[in-house]
Amino acid sequence: MPYTALDYWNLVLLLILVATALAMYFIKDLLHAVIVFGAYSVTMALVWLQMNSPDLAITEAAAGIGMTVLMMAVIFRTTRREE
């Protein structure tokens, strides 16, 4: 079965997903890691959309990008940023 353009688009999305997940592990500055987690959530929302579940995509966009990133950024006001 030949690959369609959609398959390559999914491949790009999944590669970005793996790259951001690995980057979060290796980045030392925790605020930068949280920002990369925002990029991970955007990609994950697009992946959910590719899997025909726009409901989860909206929840991922709202909870993953908005709430988690903002709450973690607020936490760094009290704790240290370096790992």
């Binding site: 909206i58 709430m67 009290t78």
Partner: protein
């Protein structure tokens, strides 16, 4: 974080984010999204307001008493909507069994009790988000 351009841009954008959150809550029965996602969007509009304009103005906009009331009565509203089923002699949170008119499928008013339940959950989630944010900002000082 207190500069002019950010404040003016937020004043333009934040009302639309708030109304979009209400839209997602009320259309939860027929379209993607729902009360949880919509509640987070509504809560984040207030959180962004408090972040940009200062925590004091945010607390003036939503006092602690209002947060306590919306959080408690949102949950109570969910329970009351569930009690409708019990009052009609059918299980808790029953919708069609309780004799609620479901309307035409696909239209906005086709969820029975679900949009009403979602309204309570959305209000509760929004006030929880704002309460979490205010609590964490207080820990710092």
């Amino acid at each position: 974080m207190r500069d002019f351009i950010l404040k003016r841009a937020a004043a333009l954008i934040l009302p639309f984010i708030f109304v979009y959150g209400i839209y997602v809550i009320l259309h939860g029965a027929v379209s993607p999204g729902g009360s949880f996602a919509g509640g987070i969007i509504v809560g984040l509009s207030f959180v962004a307001f408090a972040t940009i304009y200062g925590i004091e103005k945010g607390k003036a906009k939503l006092p602690e008493q209002v947060l306590v009331w919306t959080e408690s009565y949102g949950t109570l509203w969910y329970g009351l909507m569930g009690m409708v089923g019990l009052g009609r002699g059918v299980p808790f949170l029953a919708n069609k069994l309780a004799g609620v008119d479901l309307g035409t499928p696909g239209t906005l008013a086709s969820g029975g009790l679900i949009p009403l339940i979602g309204l309570g959950v959305g209000i509760r989630v929004a006030s929880t988000i704002v309460t979490l944010f205010f609590t964490m900002m207080e820990e710092e000082s």
